[in-house]
Amino acid sequence: MATTTTVSLPLPTTSRRGMRGGPILRRVTQDRILGYLFLFPALLVIVGLVAYPFASAIVMTFQAKTAGAPGRFIGLDNYRELFGSEQFLRAVINTVAYTGIGVGLKFVFGLSMALVLNQERFCNNLFRSILLIPWAIPTVMSALNWRWIFDDASGLINNVLVRLNLIDETISWLSDPHLAMLSVIIVVVWQGTPFFTMSFLAGLQAIPKELYEAAEIDGASVLQQFSYITLPRLQPIFITAVMLSAILTSAGIQFVLILTNGGPSDRTMIFPVLAYHLALGGAQRLGMGAAVSLIFFPLLVVFIVFLTRRMLREKGE
């Protein structure tokens, strides 16, 4: 990874309109102001747009609330009810497994494909565009399509396997408790791999060829080149992609909702689906739904802070 140089450059020859202070101090203050200025629009979006709903959701977790009525403060009762619920605890385990395996597979497939697509090849652009297709389809429609593909009697997979005489009885992809989670993860991976592929590919494309050529002259094998040049360069992108994907995958409801609705027997119940059911089904208890969504909050914050520590380190440390 290219090392950053320290801030000790000679005075710029062209002077700007009367700035006070020495060159280093000037640089630092300039940086500071510019930093806030550049960040300002993003902050405006977040504070102006997301802050209120976000705070609203947090407050809801401490209330007994239904739509259209002010909530009644009940302290930690929602959380207490959740921790006592077997369904919730199962959902937690399921979510961790679902996210871990899903993101893991997406990462491996994505990296492999990025490396492959980075090789010289005829029609590479076309292949890249084809591999992008799952990303271009709304998740609702992917889920519905795969629902069909997994169907017992009229599903594509079963029909093909039966026709090829590979199986006698149809495989119940979505109703077999041992297969249901796997089936959902397959769809998640199908939909989400292109994001990893393209992100990593973009990172790979930015690595200058000269580095590899130099290493080769020095006698490095392909694997060594990969470990010493490629991996370190891609590290920030790995971290970012994994973090964002983990958060968004664990919060996605469409796949489970459409494929299994949490079944069979809560085998695929993940906590965002549980939150959705609580908030929109039955008594429509928005407070409980919010509590489920936010129960991971502290854990995720720790996760994010830990993961991004290296990335956000100040220069020169």
């Binding site: 990874m1 630092v28 940086d31 500071r32 510019l34 806030y36 550049f38 629009p41 993003a42 902050l43 979006v45 747009l49 997301v50 209120y52 709903p53 976000f54 809801m60 492999s112 494909m113 490396l115 492959v116 090849r121 652009n125 292949f127 565009s129 591999l131 992008l132 990303w135 271009a136 389809i137 709304p138 429609m141 399509n145 069909w148 593909i149 009229s154 594509l156 029909n159 093909v160 199908w190 393209m198 590919l201 973009a202 990172g203 494309q205 930015a206 392909v222 920030p236 970012t240 992609a241 964002l244 958060i247 968004l248 919060a251 919010a290 936010l294 914050v301 994010i304 991004t308 956000l312």
Partner: protein
């Protein structure tokens, strides 16, 4: 050293080709199923066996989409929203990502992480207070309202993605430029952005497809047909317990094409840009 590097490369190339073929099949088969379904008559869709090739291919489902819904209007709306939110989020994210990746100021790490924390309330719940707020601000049922709503989702994501890429741009180039008298903005525009072109394409694609395919907000925040997008048009084909699969798939196939075609075009342009400009070692 077991094999010479060129032989190693050949081996990896062969493995790569094999993996690519598998991946292409894996990607295309479900998409083919969608296309095939969209070309089948209702009766064949409900046929017992899943026919791999439509027996009597028909464009009737596509005609239905155009007949039952103002598809072109939806397309126009989707496009406007996607382009608008992409441009805005790209500009905002580029500035923010550069600031976090390169500049030094107190609260930098906190602000950067703070951006991501906004994802900790999933949209499947956030839409409720979000809609209440949008309603009060009279931003519902409008294209610009949706653009603004999508910013809340796109900006943190794009900022972080770009940040990762900006960090891999070697610092020396920028320093050299600044010694030559370039200021920060110039460094951003003239050095960092061009070197991150592939990354910009990816991030643009992300913003675009997110706005293009987004369902929940588009559905909840819009009422009148004039503001509806392609995805919300899909619900016309889903009644209580009967889904009109043919038109559903037809609509999806049609809407998947613009982003992919766009990407194809951008890719060519980007690759050309890279080889022309070159990267100074």
């Amino acid at each position: 050293m077991a094999l010479r590097v060129t032989t190693q490369r050949r081996v990896f190339k062969g493995v790569g080709n094999g993996a690519l073929i598998l991946m292409l099949l894996w990607t295309l088969i479900p998409f083919y199923w969608m296309i095939a379904t969209s070309l089948k008559h209702d009766k064949e869709i409900y046929g017992y066996e899943a026919t791999l090739i439509p027996e009597r291919p028909t464009l009737a489902n596509y005609a239905t989409v155009f007949r039952e819904t103002p598809y072109l209007l939806f397309l126009r709306n989707s496009l406007a929203i996607a382009v608008g939110s992409t441009i805005l989020s790209m500009v905002i994210a580029c500035l923010a990502a550069y600031a976090i990746a390169r500049l030094s100021f107190p609260g930098r790490a906190l602000l950067a992480r703070g951006l991501v924390f906004t994802y900790l309330v999933p949209t499947s719940l956030l839409f409720i207070p979000m809609f209440a707020m949008m309603s009060a601000l009279r931003l519902t049922d409008s294209l610009h309202g949706l653009i603004i709503a999508y910013l809340g989702f796109d900006v943190p994501f794009c900022t972080w993605l770009l940040m990762g890429y900006f960090k891999s741009v070697p610092f020396d180039l920028e320093e050299a430029a600044r010694v030559d008298g370039c200021n920060r903005v110039g460094a951003l525009v003239r050095i960092v952005l061009p070197m991150s072109l592939p990354a910009l394409v990816v991030v643009t694609f992300f913003s675009f497809t997110h706005a293009w395919n987004e369902f929940l907000y588009a559905h909840v925040f819009t009422s009148t047909t004039n503001a509806r997008t392609v995805t919300t048009g899909l619900v016309n084909f889903m009644s209580q317990d009967v889904f009109f699969w043919g038109p559903l798939m037809a609509s999806t196939v049609m809407s998947a094409l613009p982003p992919v075609l766009m990407f194809l075009v951008f890719q060519r342009w980007v690759v050309k840009g890279l080889t022309l400009g070159g990267v100074k070692g």
